[in-house]
Amino acid sequence: MASEIKPIWQRVLNNIGDRFMGWSFEVGGVSLLVWEIMRNTFPPKLDGEETWRNMYKVGVKSFPIVVVTALLVGAIMVIQSGMYIEQYGAYGLLGWGAGYSVFREVGPIMIGLMFSGRVGANNTAELGTMKVTDQIDALRALAIDPVRYLVMPRVFTMIVMMFLLVVVGDFVSLLGGAATSQYLLGVDMTLFAWSVITYVSLADFLHGLYKAVAFGFAIAVISCHFGLNTSGGAVGVGRSVNASVVGSAIAIFILDYLITYLDT
């Protein structure tokens, strides 16, 4: 911005400082939003109709891509495990290899990233458009709290839907895996199923579901934060959506690590 020429070290420091301030602003904003959400959760204040509409929209929108993703992820994991299984001839472990990795890690991460791209990004775009067209201010002028009216239903919806989608996704990915093992690897489906049932435990399944809930919450909060802090017209909306998906991806990996660390 300033056109006078500064020494290089000063510019580097400036740059680092700017970045740091930017990140601090976002982290602070997200924390404040979480605090607002907590305040609205005890006692719960939820606009039933808005929630229901959101659930329908989110579910319908993300179901097909989650199913496609899960099918392929299951298939890919079976192919990868297959490469080792073939080497050692341990066909009975195929279902375990695929099931374990999908349930615990790959499933929630991939579905989370897809969910963030589909629902989170869409949410940011929607709230961002409302913000730049002054609709949020209009709500405030009507004494309606945007957090309560807009954010709460979305947070609730995204947690519930992420949970349900991971449950569905887990089973669909097993179907994809079973089909791949039968037709590409030539390992009988029943053997695959037996392997899943015998070796994959309920704990593995639950581990993925904890992650689903955490990701759902994180995606909701982050996408709402960036949406509500949009400025600068169409360009600003694009920038917000970009920032929102990047933030969500970072949150997904950090939370995944924390949950893996705590729950093993």
Partner: protein, 271 residues
């Protein structure tokens, strides 16, 4: 949009509800294919604008480094944690952890997750930028100055993305591997010498990793720019395009990953 759907008889509505998504997907794929063909055409024929390519290399590469390091670093830690824990429980033998981890990283995780991250950061960025250019009539202005939008906007991004996808994937392997080594060392006491075991990794693994990186790198900008170029309407349209870009890019990555993995498996069996 469609005229009064409730007036149609039931079987029409059922057909419509199946047909509409099918047509939508077919249209999207057709649009992407056309943009891809045009991109190739101009890549081979048009003059290279090196300054624009370098700008995009910077935009795609340098500005994604921290993001990729962060996410892939965590991924390495997560995977080693899970794998190490299982190995401890079942065999108690962690000798193979590092070698197998590197192989898996090359075959699936590094190219796929890097591409997912590029789809997220770069794909959405491109769609947002080009979409904004469409709604502010900049793309029309380009055309009025006889600059083809695909030639002018997509080609530099396409070339830069291919290069940077390969570079970032290699970077991602390193970061993940090092982060994994840290966790293996601190949590399971595997020493670094045992962990850095290259004996499993062959040319097959390196090739499949680079092939995937190349293909993903070529796919993401085309899909993202296509989403941006077809924007209509104001800020709503731009938001929509950005969302579409992330979803379509991610889906394309997963689908292509499946295809390449399947082909790789077949090739491996033939070898």
């Amino acid at each position: 949009m469609a005229a009064a759907p409730e007036r149609m008889p039931l079987h029409h509505r059922m057909l419509a509800s199946v047909g509409e998504p099918v047509i939508h997907v077919a249209d999207t794929v057709k649009g992407i294919m056309r943009t891809f063909a045009l991109t190739l055409h101009y890549t081979l024929r048009g003059r290279k604008r090196w300054d624009a390519i370098f700008e995009q290399l910077h935009e795609i590469g340098n500005r994604s480094v921290i993001f990729i390091a962060f996410t892939l670093g965590f991924l390495g830690m997560i995977l080693i944690y899970q794998a190490g824990y299982q190995a401890m429980k079942i065999t108690g033998d962690l000798q193979l952890l590092g070698g197998l981890f590197l192989q898996l990283l090359l075959r699936v995780f590094a190219p796929t997750i890097t591409a997912m991250m590029l789809a997220t950061r770069v794909g959405s960025g491109m769609a947002a930028q080009i979409g904004s250019m469409v709604v502010t009539e900049q793309v029309d202005a380009l055309r009025m100055c006889a600059a083809q939008p695909v030639d002018y906007l997509v080609v530099p991004r396409f070339l830069a993305s291919i290069v940077m996808s390969v570079v970032l994937t290699i970077f991602a392997v390193l970061v993940s591997y090092l982060a994994g080594a840290m966790v293996a060392n601190t949590a399971f006491g595997v020493n670094f010498y045992t962990f850095f075991d290259m004996s499993f990794v062959g040319w097959f693994d390196v090739n499949i990793c680079l092939t995937k990186a190349l293909v993903f790198g070529a796919t993401i900008p085309v899909i993202a720019c296509q989403a941006g170029l077809i924007v209509t309407g104001g800020s709503e349209g731009v938001g929509q395009a950005t969302t579409t870009a992330v979803v379509n890019c991610s889906l394309a990555v997963v689908i292509l990953d499946f295809v390449i993995s399947g082909l790789g498996y077949v090739v491996l069996n033939l070898l």
